[in-house]
């Protein structure tokens, strides 16, 4: 068994590509972002290039400025504060219907008495919006809901995208459409793991479907519900394509569609220091959420056995 030891170096060798590339393209940029967040660092667009960096830019770096970037973005009218609120609202508008519909569908699909037919077909149809380019879906909805677009015409021209809650509703609906199939499939996987004898026992005891759902299904799928919730939050933090293509750079109307990530895109060539501070806060929040996800997965003993030293 001493032979095993001599193979150890291959483990390190095969890890080299991952470690090198991760360091260059993720770790170093993250550390740089962290560094920028303490600098009074701005870029002014030069006359030469109007869209992005290059020859005409002037970089103004006044050096270390302590926590002032963080204080600036966290103020009540700071970019983090405002866009964090917008992002959370947009996420909720999509997530609430999504989880309700997905729970309902998953419990129907897995109901041993309902025996729904054509499940594969329905699942295929419901998952489809998830693989389609979010940008295309958003531009399509934009053209349907914009002034004198199809839906706008149909409703008699309320111009929903100019209304704060109308615009939020459209973004939420697109997010719902993209993710309800995915959530349904995840919840189904969890529900199918439940021991059917529990359902049979409940049936004998005369429990009605809603009792079965609340007393048996819900408690037993709690871990995956938590997983869906937390991963959806992480996804929500990264929301960009949909609100950006509906509301443009300024997240119209009134900036309610301006998300955290769109601030990063917006500030990449101007307020680098402030946007870096915002990035670091996003990093911390998602790291906490990621840690919770990991804990949930750990409880489900999904983290596999690689965590422990394996005996051969």
């Amino acid at each position: 068994m001493r032979k095993t030891i001599s193979y150890a170096k291959w483990g390190y060798i095969f890890l080299i590509p991952f470690v090198v590339i991760y360091t260059i393209f993720a770790l170093i940029p993250l550390l740089e972002t962290f560094g920028f967040s303490f600098l009074d660092y701005t870029v002014s667009q030069g006359a030469v290039s109007s869209i992005r960096g290059g020859g005409g830019d002037t970089i103004v770096n006044n050096g270390f400025c302590g926590l002032s970037n963080y204080i600036k973005v966290m103020k009540s009218d700071g970019i983090f504060n405002i866009s964090f609120r917008s992002t959370v609202v947009l996420w909720l508008v999509g997530f609430i219907p999504q989880i309700v519909v997905s729970l309902l569908l998953a419990s129907w699909f897995t109901d041993i008495r309902l025996k729904l037919k054509a499940q594969g077909f329905f699942k295929t149809v419901m998952y489809m919006p998830n693989v389609i380019m979010a940008s295309a879906l958003s531009v399509l909805f934009f053209s349907l809901f914009t002034k004198s677009g199809a839906i706008d015409d149909l409703l008699g021209g309320p111009d929903l995208l100019k209304n704060e809650w109308g615009a939020r509703g459209v973004v939420g609906f697109i997010n719902f459409l993209m993710w309800y199939g995915n959530t349904t499939i995840l919840l189904m996987a969890a529900m199918m793991g439940i021991d059917t004898s529990l359902y049979e026992a409940a049936q004998i005891d005369g429990a009605n479907p809603s009792q079965v759902f609340w007393q048996i299904t819900m408690p037993l799928i709690k871990p995956i519900l938590a997983y869906v919730l937390v991963t959806s939050m992480i996804g929500g933090l990264q929301m960009y394509d949909v609100p950006y293509l509906i509301g443009g750079t300024q997240g119209n109307p009134n900036g309610v569609l301006k998300t955290l990530v769109s601030q990063i895109q917006l500030g990449k060539n101007s307020s680098v220091g402030a946007v870096s501070a915002l990035s670091i806060i996003v990093f911390i929040v998602s790291a906490i959420l990621g840690f919770i996800t990991l804990k949930i997965m750990d409880d489900q003993s999904i983290k596999t056995r690689y965590g422990k030293k394996k005996k051969k």
């Binding site: 129907w108 489809m128 996987a189 996003v282």
Partner: protein, 296 residues
């Protein structure tokens, strides 16, 4: 089981069940229409003219005219060569996919097969960073690439795919169930080198996992807007989502010149590859969704 109950009770039960079934099917059919309608409207709108008032369910005759517009001089002047953008997207997505699945499998193989001191720490580290969004470090990456003059390059859009924690996680889970260490040991007995064992013996065993991940990685790269939009401003380097974003931005700034027919045709072409992939492989895709997650 329900033998104890009377006939009447059973009939009533049957009735209730039928009603519940009915409701379920109605809701499912409604959701089916809601999910498919956008794509149908997109297709119809791609056959319509510049201005598209109201909703239409029957195609008009301008399908080929709109395709022609995408390859016109006018389009090229505004948004660059369509075929070029399309090929850029194909190139970026394909290269990322190959790099991502191959190296994620290799990384997972290193942790799965070998025993070494940092094994546990590396595995835990990768799982920890799995949930960290790339956008959090994007500003640092962007300024770094600007200073290296690498913004209009495909390197930052493809090479980072080598280090993909989520794909790694999927691969290592798959290996735990499908790759017994005895196979590796048998290969060693036969004098097969370690790297060769991975390429010739292990990769074919992993084929189902590689295929599922390849689909997901390709699709997500094809649809990716954030990083390409941040980096690419050379018209010859733009990918499809970046051009779509430009078309939309043009409408915002100048609604008078908007051409809805052209825009919808562009979107039809933009989603076409993924729709084709999905129709061919939907079984694998839908089946792969729950594999990377928690088991209930």
């Amino acid at each position: 089981m329900a033998r104890i109950e009377g006939i009447a009770g059973e009939n009533e039960d049957q009735m209730k069940l039928k009603i519940r079934q009915g409701i379920a099917y109605v809701v499912l059919v409604i959701l089916m229409f809601v999910s498919l309608l956008p794509f149908y409207l997109l297709l119809i709108n791609a056959t319509r003219g510049k201005v598209q008032p109201g909703i239409k369910f029957i195609p008009e005759s301008l399908f080929f005219k709109n395709i022609g517009k995408i390859f016109s001089e006018d389009y090229r002047a505004n948004y660059g060569n369509f075929l070029k953008s399309f090929c850029n997207s194909i190139f970026v997505s394909a290269v990322s996919t190959v790099l991502c699945v191959y190296f994620s499998a290799l990384t997972a193989y290193a942790i799965h097969v070998y025993d070494f001191r940092l094994k546990k720490s590396v595995h835990t580290f990768i799982l920890l960073v799995m949930m960290v969004p790339t956008q959090a470090s994007a500003i640092g990456l962007y300024r770094m690439l600007v200073s290296m003059n690498l913004t209009n390059s495909f390197i930052p859009l493809t090479i980072p795919a080598i280090a993909a924690p989520a794909t790694y996680f999927f691969m290592i889970q798959y290996m735990a169930s499908a790759l017994p260490l005895e196979i590796v040991e048998a290969a060693r007995m036969d004098g097969c080198g370690e790297y060769k064992t991975f390429n010739i013996i292990v990769l074919p065993i992993l084929k189902p996992a590689l295929a599922v991940q390849a689909i997901f990685v390709f699709v997500s790269n094809w649809n990716n807007l954030f990083l390409p939009q941040m980096l690419l401003d050379d018209a010859n380097k733009k990918t499809i989502p970046v051009v779509l974003q430009l078309i939309k931005a043009n409408i915002d700034s100048n609604p008078m010149t908007a051409d809805a027919g052209l825009m919808n045709m562009f979107m039809v072409l933009a989603i076409l590859p993924v729709v084709v992939i999905y129709l061919l492989l939907s079984k694998n895709i839908v089946g792969g969704v729950s594999l990377g997650a928690v088991k209930g």
